[in-house]
Each structure stands twice: as structure tokens, then as C-alpha cells.
Amino acid sequence: MRNTLIRVASAAFLAGLIGIPANAEVDLNGNWQSRQHEDWIERGPGPDPVDYTGLPLSPEGRAKALSYTAAQLGMSERQCLYYVPHYVVFGPQGVKIWSEHDHVTGRIIAWKISAAVDRDIITVWMDGRPRPGRNEPHTFAGFTTGKWEGDMLTTYTTHIKEGYDRRNGVPSSDQATATMHIMRHGDLLTIMAVITDPVYLTEPHVVDRTWVLDPRANTPPTSAACFPFVELPNLDGTAKVPHHLPGKNPDVAELVKLHNLPQDAILGFPETIYPEYRKKIKDTYVRPEQCKRYCCGWVALGGPGSSPGLSCITNGSGRVFDQ
């Protein structure tokens, strides 16, 4: 018995020496810097008030989104609300990922994905614990389990509190679920999120983003404290919620005017995300002659890494900025 134990221990020791992993898992630990090389406007400065392009919205989702106004964020009780966990692929932030181990077996019991200024930590349980009952509390972190599929970590999140899928009020219901596929290729991390929502979406909404390993990023694991205060005294204590009534959203045609985009695409009709939709708009879409705002989304002008001599319209002012 003693010899057997010694042999097992020595084999494990030798396996460690030559680099055979104890578990068939990829190391995701580290600080990952966000690459905002698509949807920069949505993720950086923020989307236009009514820009639901790329979303398969249900009539309920569209109606609720159109009722939204950013003035809601001025209400004391809404200033510190978090986004939903799958906002990790919609937001601009980098992430820190770390593993937590069982102190006796050494096995990973959870992966943690850091919070952001407006999102909670995601805990991906790997220990096979059961999912809470459907009537258990829903939170902004949700409840997430994970499993390895080859080199891909697949996570599944339920029990998500109602929130937003896009910063301009596109809603996410408390029945939404998020499956995330986390893939590492060298120093690149890709997360593909498949979001289902029987209330506000007609089909899964799929988004994938990439981060780059950056040991110097030093991403904080938790979110900063938020302290609400009275921004709009005329709303305080009145129980009024700023909103647009049906048919009264003043921004509904803004992207039609700015970019000649078709109205049904702006409003997130599901058929607009498939290639065949182009046939419908081929004879009506007219390309704008010149970009007039938010034309560039590269490194902030004057910031580290920016290219000398660049000039571009980098914000909504329409003014050209030079390096």
C-alpha cells in the first residue's frame, strides 16, 4: 500500500516535471485587454439612442427599448444599477480572470471573471454544484456553471436580474440565459456569447469579442463603490420614471437621417441580420457621401500608441481633431 502511494506520487511528480497537465484545461488566468475593433461606438462613447441594428428583437423588446430614455439614469435608485453578466461582451472593459482551487485536491472549483465599473463578478462554478430552483433570487451576477469542451470553456448562466443588453435601453429580461464559449489561442482570448431571452428576443443573440493578454493591465477584480445622489430634484421622491410613450420616441429616425439606414434594421427586426435582407434594401439604400461624426475609433488622440499626424472626426462635434 505504501509502495503504491509512493509510485502514484512519483508518477504525478514526474508528470509535473515534463509538463503533462493534471487536467485537460487551458490556463485562462491573467489580465486581458479589450480589443474594441468592432462596434467601437456602441462600446466606447455609447450607441445612438435608437440603434438596435444587429439585434433580433421581439415586439415586446422593441417597445420597451423605445420607451427608454437615458434620463432614467438620473434617478437616485438607478444610478448604481449593474449591467447583466453577459454585458462582458458588450462593454468596453478589459477583464481579469483567475481560478479558485480546492485546498485539498488542488482541483479548480471556480473560474472568476472580474467585475467592471458597472458589472458584477462572474463566478463560473466547475464543481458540479446544482443549479438553484427557478424561483431562487435573480442577481446581476446570475448563477453560472462551466465545463470544458476540448480547449474551450463553455459556461451557462441563469438567474439573471432584469437589465440591459445595450446601453441605449435594449432590455434583457429575468428569463434571459447566456452561454459563453471561452477560447484561448496563444495570447488571444475570444468569448462568444449566445444570449437567449424568450421575452425580448425572437432568436439567440450572438456576439463574440476578443481580448489580448496584457500582464501590465492590472485590472481590478471588483467594481468600484458607487454612491448615488440626487441629480434631478424634480424627480426625487415623486415615483416618476422618465420614459417615452409609445410612438413618441424623438430619436427613432436619427440613424435614417445620419446614415441612410433602413428603419427596420435600426429597430432590430430579426430578418435584418441575415444576408438575404440586402436584396430588400439594395434599390433603396443610398450610401452617405461622407462620414460626419464618430468617424474614427482608434487609440485616443494623443494617447500612448496613437499615430502621429492623424486627423479625424473622433466625436459627435463634427470637428476634425489632429494629433
Binding site: L14, A15, I20, N23, A24, R35, D151, M192, I273
Partner: protein, 257 residues
């Protein structure tokens, strides 16, 4: 003492066995699990079939041709921007260069369908209906014949196998890495955002199976072009698998649409 020698002998034999195992493991990684196997036989994932690009990201820049000067999200250099500012689609058409935005770095972001098939045992073929382009992913020891650059360039592919854990069940799945060079300068975005002749394209293809039965292909694309880009332009793209080619719609290149 005798027991001690016996234990030492066992320890050394186990060490040797593990060293061999480790070597085999390292050799197998990225080589399809064995030198004798063809790429098709060694494929850890099945990428063949019809795939549709679902445009849930960058809709305004992918589904329609954006305005001239709209470079949002692309980390252009001064040189890259200067080139993009000269975009003239009418000139492209008159010069027979209307396929510039269908070159490999731009092709995979188009609102298109893609058909993946094995052209032979070591060549994976990618056809697009939009622009009617063909990419060939060459496995094994394929060497580029050289010659003039083309829209789709020369692509070298290899399978990436997951590592089996010590004492764990054999790992399943895998991914595909494709490196493309010798690409004729074209557009990474439809509105004339150009990549240079020295651009290198690296792609990582992963297969995702959803619980509901949907199958997705994720292509993490890294376009490295120090002349026109401040940093490599990194954009993951996803495609949904379709049952058949009934929606396949061959459409020639257009410089304007």
C-alpha cells in the same frame, strides 16, 4: 535494501515511460495526431457544410457600404487613413478592380454564405456566394508556388489538438489555425480601408455546438499590417451552420454594394 532497489527501478521505468508519453504528446500537438494521416482524416472537428454570416455586430459597416471616411473601430495609421481617403469606387469598377473588398481580410466579414468542402485530402476549400471567391487552406508540407499576389493569397493550415490531462479521459475537439500571406492589396472594409502588400492574416477557427442543436463556426481574425494599422486588427466573426445550400446565392463582386 532489495526493496529500495526495486522501488528505484520502478521509479526509473515510470520516468522513462512518462518521458516517452510527453514526447509523443508534444509531437502530436498540431500535427493531426500522426504523420501518416491526411488532414481530412485527422480533422478533430468537421468544418464542412454551408455557413451563413449572422450580422449581429458592426451591422452598419458590414451589411451596407458605409460612408467614405468612416473608419470607426479600425486602428489605422496616418498612411492607412491617407490611402483610405482616396477611395473611388467608380475608378475601381472602371479598372476592373471591383473585387478589392472581397480579398481574404475583407471577405470573411461580408454578409455572405460560405461553403466548406475538402478539395482533396490535404486541402480545405472555402467558397463564398457573395463575390464568388475561393480560398484554399493547404495542410501538411505545402509550399506556396510563389508568383503574383492574389485576392485570397496563400493559406497554410494546421489542426490544433487539445492536450490530454494526466490520468484524464482523452481530450476531444480541437481548432484550425490558418496563416495567409501573398495577398493582393485590397480593402478590409468595403469603403476603401486598405491593407498593404505586406499584410499577414492569421485565423483561428473554432466549432461551437449549442444545447438546442445550433452549430456555429467562430473565426478569430488577426490582420497584421504595420504600414496601415497601428496594431493588428482583431475581429472574431461567427457563422451559423445551415442544413443545405438552398439559400446559396452566387453574386459577382461589386465596388459599390
Amino acid at each position: 535494501m532489495k526493496n529500495g532497489r526495486s522501488w528505484l527501478r520502478g521509479f526509473l521505468m515510470e520516468a522513462a515511460a512518462l518521458m516517452v508519453l510527453g514526447s509523443v504528446h508534444l509531437f502530436a500537438q498540431g500535427r493531426g495526431g500522426g504523420a501518416a494521416q491526411t488532414a481530412k482524416a485527422a480533422a478533430p472537428i468537421d468544418l464542412t457544410g454551408y455557413w451563413v454570416a449572422v450580422i449581429s455586430e458592426d451591422w452598419r459597416w458590414r451589411m451596407v457600404t458605409p460612408a467614405k471616411g468612416d473608419y470607426a473601430s479600425i486602428p489605422l495609421t496616418k498612411d492607412g487613413k491617407a490611402l483610405a481617403d482616396t477611395w473611388d469606387p467608380a475608378k475601381d469598377t472602371s479598372e476592373g478592380e471591383q473585387c478589392r473588398s472581397y480579398a481574404a481580410p475583407g471577405l470573411m466579414r461580408l454578409p455572405a454564405r460560405f461553403h466548406l468542402t475538402w478539395q482533396d485530402d490535404n486541402t480545405l476549400r472555402v467558397d463564398s456566394d457573395l463575390g464568388m471567391q475561393t480560398r484554399l487552406f493547404h495542410f501538411g508540407n505545402w509550399k506556396s508556388p510563389g508568383g503574383a499576389a492574389t485576392w485570397q493569397g496563400d493559406s497554410v493550415a494546421r489542426w490544433e489538438m487539445p492536450r490530454a490531462g494526466f490520468g484524464a479521459a482523452p481530450a476531444t475537439g480541437g481548432s484550425l489555425t490558418v496563416n495567409t500571406t501573398n495577398i493582393k492589396p485590397g480593402y478590409m472594409r468595403k469603403n476603401g480601408v486598405m491593407f498593404s502588400a505586406n499584410a499577414k492574416l492569421t485565423e483561428y477557427f473554432d466549432l461551437v455546438r449549442e444545447e438546442g442543436g445550433d452549430i456555429w463556426l467562430v473565426d478569430t481574425v488577426v490582420l497584421d499590417d504595420p504600414k496601415n494599422l497601428q496594431v493588428p486588427w482583431t475581429t472574431p466573426i461567427h457563422y451559423k451552420k445551415e442544413a443545405d445550400g438552398s439559400k446559396w446565392d452566387p453574386t459577382p463582386c461589386s465596388a459599390t454594394w
